[in-house]
Amino acid sequence: KVTDKATGNPLPGVTVAVKGSNRGGATDPNGHYALQAKKGDVLVFSFVGYNSQEVPVGDGPTVDAVLAEKIGSLDEVVVTGYAVQRKKDLTGAVSVVNVEQITRQPTAQVSNQLQGQVSGIMVLGSGQPGEEPQVRIRGVNTFGNNTPLYVIDGVPTQNIVDINPNDVESMQVLKDAGSASIYGARAANGVIIITTKKGKAGKVRVTYDAYYGRQVPKGGNVWHLLNSQEQANLKWMALKNTDPNVVYNDGLYGSGATPVLPDYIAPGGLKEGDPGTDPSLYKVDPYYKNPSDLDGFYRITRANKQGTDWFHEIFKPAPTTSHNISVSGASDQGSYFLSFYYANQQGTLKNTYLKRYSIRSNSSFNIAEHVRIGENLEYSVIDNPQIDALTEGSGIGMAFREQPIIPVYDIKGNYGGSFSTNSAQLGNARNPVAIQDRIRNNKGIGNRLLGNVYVEADVLKVFTLRTSFGGEVFSASTHTFTFPEYENAENNKVNSFTEGASSGYNYTWTNTLTYHQKFGRHNVTALIGSEAYDNHGRSLTGTTQSYFIFDPNFTNLSTGTGTVTNGSGTYSDGLFSLFGRVDYSYHDRYLLGAVIRRDGSSKFGDNFRYGWFPAVSAGWRISQENFLKDVSWLSDLKIRGGYGIMGNQLNVESANAFTQYGLNKGSSFYDLNGTSNTLVSGFTKTHIGNPNAKWESNVNSNIGIDASFLKGKLEMSVDYYSKKVKDLLYKPEISATAGRTDPPTVNIAQMENHGIDLSLTATGLHLTKDLTMKANATLTTFKNKIVAISYDAPYFDQESRRFNGSFIIRNAVGQPVSSFYGYKVIGFWNSTDEINAANDEAEKATGVTGAEYQSQAALGRFRYADSNGDGHITEADRTFLGNPNPDFSYGLNLELDYKNFDFTIFMYGVQGNEIWNQVRWWTDFYANFAGAKSKTALYDSWRPDHHNATAPIQENGNSFSTNNVPNSYLVENGSYLRAKNIGLGYTLPTSALKRIGIDRFRIYVQAANLFTITKYKGIDPEISGGTTNFGLDEGAYPNQRQYLVGVNVGF
């Protein structure tokens, strides 16, 4: 019988195994078990949340055990690179993820769940279902791919988008070279090791976990936009500001001193009863085939005088649901685990969704006493069409640009839009509802089989031989139909159907030999191994134009009548590696680890094909020393440190070494014969080869302290690290005089990162007899600095958006990646005297008569800072305006248990980052396209009687001194604190359930993203982006508030 130490109650479900064999079982509801064992065997009792216990079998027929609740995690066994280690023996920087905690996040993506839960990881996501977030371990490591390496049951992959979060048994994050260098060439971005669930000894267990929820988009006027009348008022104001003697004569608003809203916007400006609005004139065929048919359309569209709330026309509350069933068990012959997962998250944005299905089968078989065979396999299907947010032109991007006076539909129920007649000037935005409706038949389906089979044999007691053959087979298909448009000022007139498919496979064959032995106080584990990785894939795409009907049952690549285009691509690369590791401890006090790996990659030429990646680490458990033995409040104290080199070869194309030639119909073919429609084929150089590219090396040092206090009730882990990434593989832009051929990737750039990871955990705090508390907090900081970019320019720019060709983001030596760059606004020009005075100063400073301080300076426009102090504003005065990398991010988990109730709260925050709010470029400047404008533009822009304004003077023109160049007006504080998750659960008393055969039944309610505290004026401060160009908001798909109810049931 097995009982609980604290209460004396029987413990059901405890695993009982005969040590060194595969025999085992589990306790029944009364804590009883039965098992065949002989005297001298040792029984191992283990149970989740309890310290396991070993009891030798004596003479009697019964062996009882009393298990104590586990406090602290020192004895936890964690999976690291090709090995398992006790947590207290770790010498590298390894974060152990609290899986129970992260699976509370109601999302189908494991990577989203990691946000704020583990120190040292930054996760940046969005509200779009299925959009894989950016995951960065200890900051940005390269200009290219920063995705960590994921090792799932021993199989390396770059992608965990389809892993069922319910299948995860444990997850470890290897953050420094000491722990990660064993993965050599692929370790530089950090390694996340995921182990999926196995069957446990005992009877068949069935679990069912499900939730259903409602996602609610943000309410209110999210972008602070004007209504239709205000929009007209702003136009009058701006025209007057531009020309004080303006004569109003407007296609929509008439010619009076105050603008009057028309009854119709198409035909522009008409009043009710005008013969031009006679419905019999109406002519629109929304499914027209011939582009020139559009010319004959006659649109009749009423004005929406209240104003259309475009955001809420495309964002609606949406349901989300998830179901997971698993069946598992084990006996001395083996174990099995089977699960089925279904998740369906409808996007709050129309026609976006994520549907996922996955099945997993993990099993192992004990085919002989010392030989085990097993497999882990997951097959998943994802149906997830996505939109490109954060860029101009998405449905979201248009929702803050389409004018409010435009209704969603015209008088006949076809779309209303910006198409204008009679000079209505409705702008060039596109109807956001139409954009979202027209993607309704688009699909993006992917599927993947991921897993491995393995054989393990114990040889001569001290050796374990393991071979694993694993990998992934995947394919994806997409198809989209492009409808002709008719409602906008600028319409796509050609209908077309595009279908794409890709498929590929890779395998990893790993062989390892592990040696483990204890000699007195010496404990040695050593491992050698080899690994081969082979990766292949193909992709295919085709487009056909001109369909007779647009029915999705009819449209395929062969049923169109127009131009057919197609294309395909292939890739192939491989890695071959040898590696070894030694872990040694003396007297449980002095710990030493060493790893080395030699990788060969097909991506590099003969000269530098192979790279060596060594690392050493050491630990000293000071608390074991005699002088600390008596300090009762200190349970454990360890200092550890490591140094090593990790590699990266993601950021180089397979054929980088070769100079290549190729062709492209658009850029290298030419109509030499003057036919007007037939091209002659031509070739060009397409890539300049670099046979000398070699591995990126990420030189990493780490020092850390792990401490455990009050018998493990409080644990702390803190790490300081610094990384120098050398020989960074980068494709620097080269002088145009070399042509525009794709330049080679070279080892040229350098970067530095340093930071602190901190985590604090408190467990088993009994506030009262029945009220217990657990808490953990994480803190992640990193400082990134670019050290070198190329032999040539010390910077590269990105993101010009709608500016004058100078860029918003400058990645420059000495600065963090993705820094914002431009002119610094220091106020407005409030009087002509100010301008004249500045110009006089400029004349003096430059010695040029007629010199100006600032080009196009005028009343109410921005005054820029003369950053270089040369007396006038030139492009040299551009400066760094902000940094989207936070100073730190933090997470706080709190869990309270009271009898059968449990309450959890998880808060997450980032601090000290900036966001470039490009939305305000569109909405705060009247002249920036004739679109929807903000309240700020009308009510808080500079006027002669309102100098203390937010926005500059509203004018019908563009200037260097307002909207033409990137300036600090658009930079905002991006810090925020968000209640990611608050939940309340109730577990039904076991006694009541036993009778109907249920072990556990918990119901809960939850609210995700309940509130966010931020000064950011945009819709959501969580803004991702590219690797070197992030933090730019031009219409984010915001994270949504979610309300859920769920159950966890176990049979």
Partner: protein, 578 residues
Amino acid sequence: ILVDACSKSFLERSPQGALQGSDLQNKDGIEALLVGSYAALDGQSSGTTALNGGNPWEAAPSNWIYGSVAAGDAHKGSDATDQPPVSQIAVGNFDPSNGFFNTKWQVLFEGVSRVNTLLSLLPDATGMTDAEKTGVKAQALFLRGHYYFELKKMYDKVPWIDETNMEDYKQPNNVDIWPKIEADFQFAYDNLPETQSSVGRANKWAAACYLAKTYVFEAKWTAAKPLFDLITTKGQTSNGLPYGLTDRFEDNFDPAAKNNKESVFAIQMTANDGTGSIANANQGEMLNFPYNSPFGCCGFYQPTQDLVNSYRTDATGLPYLDDYNDHAVKNDMKILSTEPFTPDAGNLDPRLDWTVGRRGIPYLDWGNHPGRSWVRDQDYAGPYAPKKNVYWQYNQDKYKDPNSWAPGSALNIVLIRYSDVLLQAAETEANLGNFGTAETYVNQVRTRAGKPATAVYKYTNDATPMGGFSTTPAANYVVAPYPAGTFATGGKDYALKAIYFERKLELAMEGQRYFDLVRWGIAATELTKFFAYESKITTDITGGKFVSGRNEHYPVPQRQIDLSVSGSSKTLEQNQGY
């Protein structure tokens, strides 16, 4: 050892979907590289991008921004903040970090690079006779001459990269490259045949015209004259048509009449060529169509009132060389399309109505231009629409390419047309004091302008513009040649002024004027007058000015200077004044 041997072959992988240089060192491969060198003429890549990945219009081979908007032919057009880099160029604020300059530079050097790649592989090519190699080389050098000519007139300080120093591509730009350009065209002229198997290829006479144009840009009048004498007597097109002016001015801007006798060298454009994009369909002009019209986009490149006024003629059919703005042509500013408007009734040169779309006049066969409703923001950029780049409705299914959000067309960009050659010849003769010959050349151009085929006529029925034209001219067209002896009487200054003005009228909206104004040395005076006059009409060019000592050349792109670091110093230097 076994493991290593195994891994060696495992790790040897060939590039996928690519050729090596040696695959191309044969007749077909070289020919394909030559076609690739022609293909860079349009500056466009696949999809809606220029060859450097920038926007198509930044690299438009017509130079509509750098040659016409900058020179007062046209406003940028569209909405105020649509393409602010063009606004900056329009007001003379040439910022070296303006990305447009970088795009143009990169795209032209891509052309140079393609030629150099070809030339480096050519000597060892197999299966070709020396004569064939020389033929290829002559075409290649013609193209390289063109790319460098463009670079030279844009940026002045240009580094020279050829097949001998390709690997060492960081060359200084402190040496004048005109002699090298002359050498490339001279080789082409000496070695190209008079006619070619394909009309798109450069022939001997195209090389002669380009060489003469080079001399004109260098003001080497005596070197230019003998070439012009030959060209005007013996010149012919690649397809064997003796050079001449088409009777119908519009033939030069009508894709159905492309590669005619006036087309000395043109960039060949296609429509609906199977790419599913407008990459080969005059993509550089995609913005330059009336807005809220059958063309869809984008309302750019709106001709100026100043340009329109230039077409005013006096009672004798001659232009007002100095005071044309005192004889302004009536416009429809501030008048809604629903309100009545009667077009100007005064004397006009008919070339106006093939160059500018204005209210009430047939816009090809698209109907009478409706005025303000086809204009995005009249207050901002005026009432007019471009016309030379616009295709016709009746044959649009063949020559229009709808495969983008803005239209493409198979309308060629004519880099040199014969009337341009004649006016250069006139300029050469006038500079050499041969006023009679100069006047004859100018009068050839004016005579064509006065031919009935060059007038715009009213529709037979305004409601069905494709139904054909009547015989009633759409406006009061009066144009005549200069009476014999006018140039001789007026003297050199007068002759040159008349020639310069004729270039403005004949070549307006063809990306030429800015470079002409600069080489004539009158950019400051002309543009100062222009800004003063035009900025009273629209709001877009307020504060525009020509900065003497700087604006004569566009800046070497800042990015390229920054990328030119060799050792610790920059190999490229900036132009004066930046």
